[in-house]
């Protein structure tokens, strides 16, 4: 507890060193932290920052809902039925390794630039981890619960809704957390590689218009966003599933 301050030393030293090194230096590639900070204030004031953030987070969220939702349903199905899992595993193993960014040109042909392109790629990227992790979450449900369902003579539907999903929920939430992280990374990547919107594009634009201070402001903001969303979901997970015990 008393050692918490140590974590702040390294970033503070790095930032001060950068400030000192960049002092009075004219660069088109790097910027002083103070310059980035004032650029950040400007970008926030004129709304550029918020629009880009909205575009990136909106696409990420839509992608998680679409891809993660489909992955959840398929994962439950595969987890509950051995036959379905056997039949589908080869297809999943063949499709899953396709790198998400390789789908960019296909989505570009189908949708053109814009929201739909980005959402489609994010959904593709989120589908697989959600599917695989949900399937294994169901597989790891205490077998005794299936016996309980039989003894209680629950219908298949209500045993899934009342026993299986609640039992697998902590692990499914972990998968969801992972998907959100993937979605953010893929969103920024798609914006950098192709799609002219969002935080990724604004970083590329800042670099190409030789405004490194804007670039570093956006970069720090992106990092902060990613970290706080991750940390927020983690603490939510701890709060929600504290009574389950055991799971990290």
């Amino acid at each position: 507890m008393s050692g918490k301050w140590r974590g702040w030393v390294v970033p503070l030293v790095l930032v001060s060193a950068a400030e000192f090194a960049m002092h009075g230096v004219q660069s088109y590639a790097l910027a002083a932290p103070s310059a980035a900070a004032s650029a950040f204030a400007e970008l926030a004031a004129d709304g550029t920052l918020w629009r880009a953030t909205f575009e990136t987070l909106g696409s990420a969220l839509a992608g998680v809902v679409l891809g993660g939702g489909l992955g959840l349903v398929l994962g439950l199905w595969l987890g509950l039925s051995r036959t379905v899992a056997d039949a589908a595993s080869l297809s999943v193993e063949l499709l899953r390794p396709i790198p998400s960014v390789a789908m960019i040109p296909i989505a570009l042909l189908a949708f053109g630039f814009g929201w739909r392109l980005e959402i489609a790629i994010i959904a593709f990227a989120c589908l697989w981890p959600m599917l695989v992790l949900t399937k294994s979450a169901v597989a790891q449900v205490e077998p005794r619960l299936f016996e309980v369902a039989q003894v209680l003579r629950l219908t298949p539907m209500s045993s899934v809704l009342k026993l299986i999903i609640p039992a697998a929920l902590p692990r499914i939430f972990v998968a969801f957390r992972l998907c959100v992280g993937v979605a953010l990374v893929v969103a920024v990547t798609v914006e950098i590689a192709a799609n002219p919107q969002g935080l990724g594009y604004s970083m590329i634009l800042a670099q190409q218009t030789l405004h490194p201070e804007n670039l570093f402001a956006m970069l720090a903001w992106t990092g902060l966003l990613g970290w706080s969303i991750g940390a927020g979901l983690l603490s939510l997970q701890r709060r929600l599933f504290a009574h389950y015990g055991g799971l990290q």
Binding site: G3, R6, G7, W8, V9, V10, P11, Y28, A29, L30, T83, D86, A87, A88, S89, L90, S91, E93, L94, L95, P97, I98, P99, S100, V101, A102, M103, I104, P105, I106, L108, L109, A110, G181, L184, V185, V188, T189, I192, A193, A194, L199, G200, M203, I204, A206, Q207, P212, L215, F216, L219, T222, G223, G226, W227, I229, G230
Partner: protein, 248 residues
Amino acid sequence: MRWIKGIAVVAALLCLWQAMAASGFVSRVFLPSPIAASQALLNGLTHGNLGLLTLNTIEHMTYGWLLACLIGIGLGSLIGISSTLRAWLMPTLEVLRPLPASSMVPVFIGLFGFTPNMVLAVIAFGSLWPVLLATIHGFASIEPRLNEVGRMLRLSRAAFIWKIGLPNALPDALAGMRLALTVALILAIVGEMLTSQQGLGRAILFAARSFRSADLFAGVMLLGLIGLCCNALLAAVERRALSWQNHR
């Protein structure tokens, strides 16, 4: 039996794809028939330069990944072995972890321009994190009893790292390396899309721009194949290197 079912489902999916392409329900501009795509694949490999492009992409990916593994395991061992260094550095590393690797692309473009070195730096930087963090974790999780065994046998620090630390971190480090290879492939593709570097990433983007959907799909299939093979290869290495775990 499992395999027959799996193959049957893959065949059914291919038939569905063929039917969709043939019926004109989905425009042929962005959905070629599977037959056309596989013809383009065969043609590209035998008469065209698809094989060479594949090798190019694999080369970019591998160089960046190897660099990341070397730095990640070396640095991870040094940080992981010392609880003091961990206390000073881990908070910073944890905050940087969710930063999308691709968001460093504009920074590296600013520093190196649109050069092969820029792409190498991006790939190495992006795939460094999984290896570095996993190695640190592997070192941090050394059984305290083994620390005592090391001290009782009066092992030197170097001997302790080599004989106890590294083998203990190996399962984590290998898992990190596997993840890093996936990241490296994605960043290699992004790098090729952004710069004039030869490779499949650039080829599929060009195919999309000139509406050659069959060539585009052939390229995507090859990228999926690279992902599949890399994963299988590393999984095999893991099984071999960690054979002692099977007996636990």
